[in-house]
């Protein structure tokens, strides 16, 4: 990269099942306004805006038109990013390039989704009409196929997955913006919740949320002006894979996009022991089992050791590498915002503004986005330029 950029501010809505009091444009404004307040900036200070969501979920065409003013894009540069579940993380990466382009100093990124406005299941089944649509079954059915393969190849148990679900919901209790607050969550409760597609219980799955999340980037020369501890982007990368279901054998266990992104980023930054060298990870886990598979792919443990990692508490709040102090996607999932939330929560940890979910002395954070069943975005944030 020719120039540096940092995340200097974040803002999000209180995520919930249904926002009857606000429409999409108003939710976007709410998140953007909070990000501006965080940096004590005004709309007029923002030079460029990136928005993102899954347009078909709410049945809107070019939703960037309606939300433009809420996002602060009136009379400004705006782009709308849409890459499925990775939309948010792709928008975060797009914002980084925009802020490092030398043309813009302050760049707002806003991800949003209002699932209650549309029908997510119907949207998810609108896949390739020739190959995948006849067997399309939205996220749970699709995940069930690869999770059973994963359990068979790695010996992961339903109890270990349930522990991921419990960790996420316990962390969410520290996050006032998280959608699901389930104080009495236990492994038994997860295992006794309704089976939606074997082996996925209802509480193994992410919710559908209404919400928006904003971050503000600053170019190198402006970052310190508006933020005491800017979260500098050290590396960002995207890898996509073929979207056809039948082309992926043992998809969760292999997940080669995450492996490739990790390999490239770790090599670039000299990371040989991610569990020690990262202080926090905010990763995109739409279903409990996925988090275990990502541990292996991100090199947090050896192949087949992910179950042990969660049992040993390595990734809990007081463990060596807290994963998703925010409660993760398992606690909050407005899809278009979810990737932005990962970056916002990662930056908050470096800003030292994460409140009750703050991990002490955070210097290096791994941020991850996931979508279209195999796609991966990754970013590393650091307190050091």
């Amino acid at each position: 990269m020719k120039r540096n950029a940092a995340i200097i501010a974040t803002g999000q809505t209180k995520h919930q099942s249904k926002r009857n009091d606000a429409n999409q444009a108003e939710m976007v404004f709410e998140a953007a306004r909070r990000a501006l307040e965080d940096a004590q900036l005004e709309m007029k200070d923002i030079d460029a805006v990136i928005t993102d969501n899954m347009e078909l979920f709410e049945g809107r065409a070019l939703p960037d038109m309606w939300v433009a003013e809420g996002a602060g894009a009136y009379m400004k540069h705006q782009l709308k990013i849409a890459t499925g579940g990775t939309s948010g993380s792709s928008a975060v990466i797009a914002g980084y390039y925009t802020a490092a382009s030398g043309l813009f100093d302050l760049v707002m990124v806003v991800g949003f989704e209002k699932h209650s406005d549309g029908h997510t299941f119907a949207g998810m089944t609108l896949t390739n009409p020739f190959w995948d649509r006849p067997i399309a079954s939205a996220a749970p059915g699709n995940f069930a196929l690869s999770i059973t393969e994963y359990m068979a190849s790695r010996g992961v148990t339903q109890e270990q997955a349930a522990m991921v679900a419990v960790k996420a919901r316990k962390n969410a209790l520290n996050n006032p913006y998280a959608h699901l607050h389930i104080p009495d969550i236990t492994v038994e409760k997860v295992l006794n919740s309704r089976m939606i597609a074997y082996p996925i219980h209802l509480l193994d799955m992410c919710p559908q949320s209404d919400g928006a999340c904003a971050i503000i980037y600053a170019s190198e020369k402006k970052a310190k002006e508006f933020c005491e501890n800017p979260a500098w982007v050290k590396a960002a990368i995207t890898r996509h894979d073929t979207p056809y279901l039948g082309d992926h054998i043992d998809r969760l266990a292999t997940i080669r996009t995450i492996r490739e992104c990790s390999r490239i980023i770790y090599k670039k930054l000299g990371i040989t022991d991610p569990v020690k060298q990262f202080d926090v990870a905010e990763i995109y886990e739409p279903v409990s089992y996925a988090e275990l598979a990502w541990y292996e792919a991100m090199g947090f443990c050896e192949e087949g050791e992910a179950g042990k990692l969660i049992e040993d508490g390595v990734t809990s709040m007081d463990g060596e590498l807290p994963v998703n102090p925010s409660g993760g996607v398992l606690s909050t999932n407005p899809v278009g915002a979810s990737g932005v939330i990962r970056a916002a929560e990662g930056a908050l940890q470096i800003h030292g503004k994460a409140g009750k979910r703050q991990v002490p002395d955070v210097e290096t954070v791994l941020v991850h986005g996931y979508g279209v069943y195999t796609w991966c975005d990754m970013m590393v944030l650091s307190s050091h330029l």
Binding site: Y74, K80, G84, T127, P243
Partner: protein
């Protein structure tokens, strides 16, 4: 002030536009992917990132960018999607390169306009609270804008019709154009009234197609172009701007967003007197009156003065500023692709490779893209030798 570094266009390709009833989306896209690689003399492995442009609702699928992943060679590669007019994908690719993130980026836009309902999809662009329910779409809102424009500045339906006659005539020189027509002003005036004062021949026909470009950093662009015995065409300036979403909040006859976008592009390119310094302009005109209105927004004449330009033949291929020698959108480019098509045409003009539609001695060309109700978004790109 210019751009921080030079970014060159080293490849362009278009499909022939028309109704592609026997081709799938990946097949249409594949045509321009192979075309643009051939044009640049590159291999798919030389492409470091792909910025595509498409819209879920037009494609009838969720995260429909996934239709392209294999075709653009992004399996285990880097790819993102701007869900907007294709010219914004080119703009974003330029920022990718300026940031130093990539040296060679492919830009591709596709839309099979014939597969969806123009009324429904453009109606879904309007916010669902106030405007969508009124039944507004791009056509009916354009009727409001055209009427207001006529009323305020005294333009006539005959002047609008002359734009249609000119562009359909120019299309005979363009092998990619869908509908070259030899028509008279009377033919346009007597064609079916769709939404006063817009008649059938004042509108772009429904069409399908794709367009692709390859952009590269200065050094790589020079190398790549040299292999083909060419000079790169350089991106000299660019600007993108969003207006208010609500029609009632705007003076539809002033297209302020276009004025702002053009001012940014001109500043970067060092253009002070556009009509003198720009040799050819490719302007997105889904409706004939818009070519005139946009000429005013671009500063080619004073407000209300564009009727005189068309009356005096200033925008004919042998006029002072030839506008849409390709035949423009009126001769058939689908939404989403149209803006990128304009840029591809501008590049061909600067290369001197525009065949029968070549304007002699082009040094500097302007490309313009727009989407949204009554041109809520405008993007202007200046390219030159």
């Amino acid at each position: 002030m210019g751009l921080p570094e030079r970014v060159g266009v080293v490849g362009v390709a278009q499909t022939k536009y028309g109704l592609k009833r026997n081709q799938t989306i990946p097949e249409v896209a594949y045509e321009v992917v192979t075309g643009v690689l051939d044009d640049a003399g590159l291999n798919i492995r030389d492409i470091e990132n792909v910025v595509s442009s498409s819209v879920d609702l037009w494609d009838g699928a969720t995260a429909s960018g996934a239709f392209l992943t294999e075709v653009v060679g992004a399996v285990m590669g880097s790819e993102t999607r701007v869900s907007e007019d294709g010219i914004l994908a080119a703009l974003h690719a330029t920022l990718n390169i300026l940031s130093g993130g990539f040296d060679v980026v492919m830009v591709i836009a596709h839309c099979l306009g014939s597969r969806g309902s123009h009324y429904d999809i453009t109606n879904w662009v309007f916010d669902p609270v106030y405007q969508q329910k009124l039944g507004l779409d791009y056509l009916s809102s354009a009727g409001l804008q055209a009427s207001w424009y006529m009323d305020k500045y005294g333009l006539s339906e005959e002047q609008f019709a002359k734009v249609s006659v000119k562009n359909h005539k120019n299309a005979f020189n363009n092998p990619y154009a869908y509908q070259p027509l030899n028509i008279s002003v009377d033919d346009v005036l007597s064609s079916e009234m769709l939404s006063y004062p817009i008649k059938a021949l004042d509108t772009a026909p429904v069409s399908d197609g794709a367009c692709a470009l390859i952009l590269a950093s200065e050094e790589r662009a020079k190398e790549i172009a040299r292999e083909k015995g060419r000079e790169p065409v350089w991106i000299k300036g660019l600007g993108n701007c969003y207006d208010s979403h609500y029609l009632g909040d705007r003076d539809l006859t002033e297209c302020e967003a276009l004025t702002v976008a053009a001012r940014k592009a001109y500043e970067l390119a060092g253009v002070e007197n556009p009509i003198k310094e720009i040799d050819v302009a490719e302007i997105s005109e889904p409706f004939s009156y818009q070519e005139l209105l946009w000429l005013e927004g671009l500063g080619f004449c004073e407000r209300g003065g564009a009727g005189k330009l068309i009356d005096e033949g200033v925008t004919e291929t042998d006029g002072e500023i030839p506008v849409n020698p390709s035949g423009g959108m009126l001769s058939g480019n689908p939404y989403i692709v149209a803006g990128l098509t304009r840029l591809a045409e501008a590049v061909e003009q600067c290369r001197g490779e525009a065949g029968d539609r070549q304007i002699p001695g082009v040094e500097t060309a302007l490309a313009h893209g727009t989407t949204g109700p009554c041109g809520q978004m405008h993007c202007v790109v200046i390219v030159g030798r």
